[in-house]
Amino acid sequence: MVPFTYLEPASLDEALALLAEHGEDAKLIAGGTGLVNLMKQRLVRPDFVIGLRAIRALAGISEKDGLRIGALATIQSLEVSELVRRHAPLLAEACGHVATVRVRSMATLGGAMAHGDPNLDTPPALIAMDGQIVARTRRGERTIPVDRFFTGYFGTVLERDEIVTELLIPKQPAGSGTAFLKFLPATQDDYATVSVATRIALGADGTIREARVALGAAAMVPVRARMVEAALSGKASDEKTLGDAAPLVVDAIDPIADFRGSAEYKREMAVVHVRRALVEAAAKAKEAR
């Protein structure tokens, strides 16, 4: 690792000022589980590392028109939070699949977004729940849908002086069920070969009112499979219908070959796991009705 200066602002305003001052020479650090690895490999060599841990305004989980989750909330705290389990069980489930308990207790949800790694588990879960990201600069605040947040491999829409402050999860539709599948064929502590988050809301007649399908580790960014969603809208929620829609996911993804599988294998696994996740979500939705 290349030596750097560590700064630890006590407030968000102070952090925003430091970030504005040091710009591209600075990196923000929360849990550090992503950044430190990049620094150790010398892929990122910041002169200044700005620690966010002292900023209390970025912590906490509250219920207000859904959930508001402070950017510094750890993955572990979300996995076990009663509020999250009640209002956003898909997020709690996804968090339970993140790496190991040691990583989960350090890594933060805001960090997982800002990191921009398409292999992470939480972005697809947030996309499937219509999650939004609140980000601040000294000039003001904006809210960005998670499915429009990622721009490329480790790339996001964040400006260089912008800080993720909160994650918003709206109230989930009545009669909806969710599922999160992380396909880990080698070891249980790994990036997914492909991960799938789904949400299915059923109407009073039992047909699909609305579907959400999002994938991780399937392209340069976390992706939303809108074609699958559209194909299911208004349809019956039987296994055949769900299974017939699943192959449409291949147009939404563009996986890369790596140690976790060839691109072709990942495409096939995306189809299998989208189908399985849809079936599971539909079953849960039926239970919820």
Partner: protein
């Protein structure tokens, strides 16, 4: 404990080790007891001293610049800017160090590359600086100009007549190590890039194959894997004003390492002192000097002590991982499925240097080939070949995991081809008392069939199973090591306490605890009365170090010899105190000495002796090394998997492991060796692989090099068949290299049983299984 109806013992890993069996002849105080690690508290409280913990005044940090090319000529190196960086104390290149090459047998490893580089990761220059950060910054200031040369990465290609020759120079080697091998060995034969070719023959395999009822031929490939120890290679060298070279290094055999270092740097052995340190895992990977020589030259150039710690990137890309291997087996069987002959060709890819291992070729590459079976005719050819890849070393039963994967898959394939149950195939061919091993060696205590049967019974081999579930087994045979000199000293203090001084570190196996138990048993005292003192290489007697599951056997013998002498000396003292003849002295179960009408305890006796200048009392002991034990042990593994036909994913559901054991010195440590070895084998079956691209290791961090986690481990049941003791004191045998070798084949055999897909390469990948399922479907 669940006691099976016969002599079996079960250790249920889910609820700790609940059983033990103590032979009537034991005291019940030491051997056989679940004694806590003697170094346990020091380790868990952080007080244990590892090489990286040693701190000295003026200590510098050393780092190395490594080659980005697999094969290149070094045109020029400019270190001017690096030397000028404040805080840099010495910068070395190949031009600054002697031409002497290092190696444990083949002397082919330069301290720093001289003129050429032979693999991606080879050390080209070294820097010692005030901090690691300054040293790393200095490395970036070194300019090296390379002219790339042709490179070769696979052993098969390296043997072709047109292949580039990786070591055109005549490589020196220690002839003694070559002489210890049986069979027809040629070092550096006239085949391009071959380090060694070994041919071992027993019987007449060619004739048996020519006239056989049926012949089966299969080929297998096993990748290189890393040993996976937690502590990276670490060393620290300090040169005293008097010229004494002090070394702290994570090395499993300090005395031998000292001898190699002396030869390499031209300093007498008694002017080098390897100091005792705790070792954070070895698994065979810490037998070499690794960075110690460059560390010495940096310390000499800087005039200050230097510490070097490899980071995990360096460990994975430039450590000394296990040799990858390709193996072809041809086997003849008779109409009753009895094995008549095996013809085996094993090719080990050694990487760019051969010197990380102390032998011409890997013993497991031939020594235990088909060792569990009766094969009257056997012909084995083993080649070890240079390539422009990371140099390979030893890892836990060197060569055996690769070859056993092949043999145990092959036997399974033959069984299926003959329509025979795989357990029955193995039972029918299991070596039994009176049989010679496939290499023609005579061994006693052959309980192969009993071990298989015990495991099969506990596993429920014959019970019905659901679709998608598969069951497989594998077996392996390996004797304890009885080679190499071990010397120890026992000292009994004026307070009656006993200290064992030995030259072997505890590499993490718990050996120091075992040694304390062995000592305590001889004197029928509890382990609390025994201290373990690991001496430095000047103060302790010669010790050949941890390897080939030898320590309990060889140090056990040395301890027994020292204890016998000490008992005689104590009896003489007691006789003097009690005014009788030494032959009248009896030793009680509590360790006290008695004569007719008189008695004295050890502590009182030693107090009395101290007043007369006769305490403390020290006795030396040494073993009588044989080349190998004539006793051996067997293991049988059973694995159950579930295969997802849609994804190819293999889930390991259950493992039963049956072990033919002697006296278990410490049931906790023993079970730890079994479970640790199995987990290591699960990694090698399911996920671990050093992947190369253009010769460079690209699984360069633990995010991509996948070790198994606790969540990947299946339900495990251990079956022990006691009573198989060896010739070592207290009828112990070995466990260290028994559990990690054969399991991968049991798992791939189970995959075949589940879905009919045969994997002939490790590790298993879901994608490969799915490809196999597709091929099946399209063939149907």
């Amino acid at each position: 404990m669940v006691k099976a109806p016969d002599t079996l013992e079960r250790a249920d890993n889910s609820q700790g080790v609940r059983c033990r069996m103590v032979a009537a002849s034991l005291s019940g105080k030491a051997v056989g007891q679940p004694v806590m690690r003697v170094d346990g508290i020091a380790k868990v409280t952080g007080r244990a001293l590892y090489a990286g913990d040693v701190d000295l005044p003026d200590l510098l940090s050393g780092r190395c610049l490594r080659s980005p090319h697999p094969s290149a000529r070094i045109v020029s190196i400019n270190v001017g800017k690096a030397k000028a960086l404040p805080g840099v104390r010495s910068v070395l290149t190949g031009a600054d160090v002697p031409d002497t090459c290092y190696g444990r047998m083949c002397k082919d490893i330069p301290v720093l590359a001289k003129g050429v580089v032979r693999f991606v990761g080879e050390k080209v220059a070294a820097v010692a600086a005030d901090t690691v950060e300054i040293a790393e910054a200095a490395l970036e200031l070194i300019d090296v100009e390379y002219a790339e040369l042709p490179a070769v990465f696979s052993a098969e290609e390296a043997m072709r007549p047109t292949a580039p020759i990786i070591h055109p120079e005549a490589v020196e080697f220690v002839p003694g190590a070559a002489a210890s091998i049986h069979g027809e060995l040629s070092m550096y034969p006239p085949i391009p890039n071959v380090i060694s070719r070994l041919r071992v023959r027993h019987g007449d395999a060619a004739s048996a194959l020519a006239s056989a009822h049926k012949i089966f031929e299969h080929s297998f490939a096993v990748p290189s894997v890393h040993q996976g120890y937690i502590e990276p290679h670490t060393c620290l060298v300090a040169i005293g004003r008097d010229g004494l070279v002090d070394v702290w290094v994570a090395n499993k055999g300090p005395h031998i390492a000292r001898t190699h270092m002396a030869a390499a740097i031209g300093v007498q052995e008694n002017r080098i002192r390897f100091n005792p340190v705790a070792i954070g895992g070895d698994f065979g990977g810490k037998g070499s000097l690794m960075d110690t020589l460059v560390c010495y030259y940096l310390a000499r150039a800087a005039g200050r002590p230097v510490r070097m710690v490899m980071n995990s990137f360096e460990e994975l890309t430039a450590g000394n991982p296990r040799h990858s291997a390709s193996i072809t087996l041809r086997t003849a069987v008779d109409p009753d499925a009895r094995l008549l002959a095996i013809d085996a060709r094993v090719i080990f890819n050694a990487g760019a240097y051969g010197g990380f291992v102390p032998v011409p070729t890997l013993h497991g590459g031939y020594g235990e080939l088909a060792g569990a079976y009766r094969v009257p005719n056997c012909a084995i050819e083993v080649l070890r070949v240079y390539t422009n890849t990371v140099p390979c070393g030893h890892m836990r039963a060197p060569g055996a995991p690769q070859v056993t994967f092949a043999v145990e898959s092959h036997i399974d394939m033959i069984a299926h081809a003959l329509g025979l149950d795989p357990v029955e195939m193995r039972r029918r061919n299991a070596i039994a008392e009176g049989d010679l091993t496939p290499l023609g060696e005579k061994r006693r205590h052959l309980r192969c069939r009993e071990t298989i049967d015990a495991g099969a019974r506990a596993f429920g081999w014959d019970k019905p199973k659901s679709p998608g579930i598969g069951r497989g087994m594998s077996t392996y045979e390996h004797p304890p090591g009885n080679f190499g000199l071990s010397t120890v000293a026992l000292t009994i203090g004026i307070d009656g306490r006993i200290t064992l001084t030995l030259g072997s570190p505890d590499t993490g196996t718990g050996f120091h605890t075992i040694a304390a138990q062995l000592v305590a048993e001889h004197f029928a005292v509890s382990v609390d009365e025994v201290e373990i003192a690991q001496g430095d290489t000047l103060s302790s007697g010669f010790e050949a170090g941890a390897s080939g599951q030898r320590l309990t056997t060889t140090i056990g013998q040395a301890i027994a010899a020292a204890a016998d002498r000490m008992k005689q000396d104590l009896a003489a003292l007691a006789a003097e105190r009690l005014n009788c003849a030494p032959s009248d002295i009896g030793i009680g179960a509590d360790g006290s000495f008695s004569a007719p009408g008189a008695m004295i305890d050890r502590r009182t006796l030693m107090g009395w002796a101290a007043e007369r200048g006769k305490a403390p009392l020290t006795c030396q002991g040494e073993n009588t090394p044989g080349r190998h034990s004539d006793r051996t042990s067997f293991v049988a593994h059973f694995a159950e998997v579930a295969v997802d036909r849609e994804t190819g994913q293999v889930r390991l559901r259950r493992i039963v492991t049956a072990h033919d054991v002697g006296t278990v010195v410490n049931p906790i440590t023993h079970q730890g060796q079994i479970e640790g070895g199995l987990i290591q084998a699960v990694g090698q079956a399911m996920s671990e692989q050093i992947v190369l691209k253009d010769g460079a290791v690209i699984t360069a961090h633990l995010g991509d090099y996948k070790l198994p986690t606790a969540m990947d481990i299946a339900e495990l049941e251990t079956i022990l068949l006691p009573g198989g003791g060896g010739t070592a004191p207290f009828s112990t045998t070995a466990i260290g290299e028994m559990s990690n070798v054969a399991l991968p084949a049991a798992i791939t055999n189970a995959v075949f049983d589940a879905v009919g897909v045969r994997l002939v390469e490790l590790p298993i990948s879901a994608e490969k299984v799915l490809e196999g399922l597709r091929a099946q479907a399209s063939a149907a």
